[in-house]
């Protein structure tokens, strides 16, 4: 929210009707944050790149995606908003952007027992106990030109604290790593579901999504199931004739 709508707590969004030029050219990037993270350095640049590649691979499986560009974090400014995304659109030639955001909190302080994540669809409140680890990964997919949210795939992990005073820092670090893995797995699962649902949504609601072909496209000559019936009919007729 902070990246797309800086300085607005609860944005009122009035997107236009997206014109989806199929197959889509998609960009994928991590949302930059202001200031230092409190994640203990779990999600390093290398891990982020691996995560983006994994998400990109799931987009590539979709027949309506022509290409997917992994965009380095350096090209996104904190609070860059749609102005920043429009620059990426020109620079990388992408129409749609998948923004991955990440947040992790460990309740090491007895006094702090709830936390609010601000996601693009509203507040997500987490209640915790001491030494709990909460991780949230979120992929939001936007049509840049119309600023319309196409779909969203969150992944959440909650790990109950089992650390003692003796092994607290080591256990918290392990929990942080496991939290990222669990949240990633859940997000990827949701992403697959959302990609299928998005495909159905676009077909069912033509008034909400304008679908057009790109200027130059890939064509194919494909037989339908009916042609296999014709094949069977021809083979049967030939066999009957041969039998006399």
């Amino acid at each position: 929210v902070d990246f797309l709508y800086p300085n607005v707590r609860e944005p009122v969004i009035a997107p236009g009707t997206p014109e989806l030029k199929l197959p889509l050219r998609v960009g994928i990037a991590f949302v930059p944050t202001l200031g230092a993270r409190h994640d203990g350095g779990i999600l390093t640049e290398k891990r982020r790149a691996e995560l983006l590649s994994e998400v990109a691979a799931h987009f590539r499986k979709s027949p309506f995606v022509r290409s997917i560009e992994v965009i380095p974090s350096a090209y996104l400014r904190p609070r860059g908003g749609f102005a920043n995304l429009n620059q990426l659109r020109t620079m990388y030639g992408v129409d749609v952007i998948a923004l991955v955001s990440y947040d992790q909190t460990q309740f090491t302080d007895q006094g702090l027992l709830s936390l609010t994540y601000w996601t693009i669809v509203g507040a997500y409140v987490v209640k915790g106990q001491k030494n709990d680890t909460h991780t949230m990964l979120d992929t939001v997919v936007y049509d840049i030109a119309s600023q319309k949210l196409l779909f969203r795939a969150p992944g959440v992990s909650q790990i109950k604290g089992s650390a003692t005073l003796v092994n607290q820092s080591e256990q918290l670090r392990t929990d942080a790593e496991v939290g990222v893995k669990q949240a990633t797995t859940e997000m990827i699962k949701n992403l697959d579901t959302q990609l299928v649902e998005f495909r159905a949504k676009v077909k069912e609601r033509p008034e909400e999504y304008r679908v057009v072909r790109t200027e130059g496209y890939r064509g194919g000559g494909m037989l339908g199931d009916v042609m296999l019936l014709f094949a069977a009919a021809l083979a049967t007729a030939a066999w009957l004739r041969r039998r006399g």
Partner: protein, 204 residues
């Protein structure tokens, strides 16, 4: 002995199996796909073989399976009966599909698929059966009429599902295949075609 003699007389459909195997290898090896696929820009730069070889390229497992199933059945039936016609028909329909795309479909940058050739084979087999003097003649006439109805319906009402396919299906290539089959049949069996058209005119 009799079985062995019958098997000896059976022709192995070498050409059909060769084309099917080639399509399989092209589907499995991406570098070959890049070399064979119909690519408008490459053709404009002199790579003319792509006009014909593009027919052997497929973009998904379902695309490959459906086209190959149809081609193997139709190809074996035609090659067993008329091997020379098989050669003429396959080359002519493949070239006609590529040529039509190049001349009349400038938006199609890349193309692959054997369905135009398969349609040509099916139409030819139906025409051949429909002009025969057997009791199964009406079965072939029914198949022929249904094939034409399907091809026309595809051209008139077909709406491609752009979200579900890795490519835009082009029903025009089926119409091209059908037209080529008619021309080849007219060229090789003109009297039979004239008789079929006369009987169609006499039908109530």
């Amino acid at each position: 002995m009799a079985t062995t003699a019958r098997m000896m007389r059976m022709r192995v459909p070498i050409c059909t199996l060769t084309v099917a195997l080639t399509a399989g290898v092209v589907f499995a090896v991406p570098t070959l796909e890049a070399l064979f696929v119909y690519n408008r820009e490459a053709i404009a730069h002199g790579e003319l073989w792509r006009i014909v070889t593009g027919n052997a390229v497929h973009f998904s497992a379902a695309h490959f399976a459906l086209d190959l199933a149809g081609f193997v059945v139709g190809g074996i039936l035609l090659e067993a009966a008329r091997p020379r016609v098989w050669t003429i028909l396959c080359i002519a329909s493949a070239a006609a599909v590529g040529a039509l795309l190049y001349l009349a479909q400038p938006h199609v940058i890349v193309y692959g698929g054997l369905s135009g050739v398969v349609t040509a084979v099916f139409i030819y087999l139906s025409l051949q059966g429909a002009t025969s003097h057997t009791i199964y003649r009406w079965v072939y006439i029914t198949i022929l009429v249904a094939l034409f109805a399907k091809s026309i319906a595809e051209l008139v009402v077909f709406q491609p599902d752009l979200m579900s396919s890795a490519f835009v299906p082009l029903p025009q290539v089926h119409a091209v295949g059908a037209a080529v089959a008619f021309l080849v049949f007219a060229g090789t069996r003109a009297p039979q075609l004239t008789a079929l058209l006369s009987s169609a005119r006499r039908a109530p």
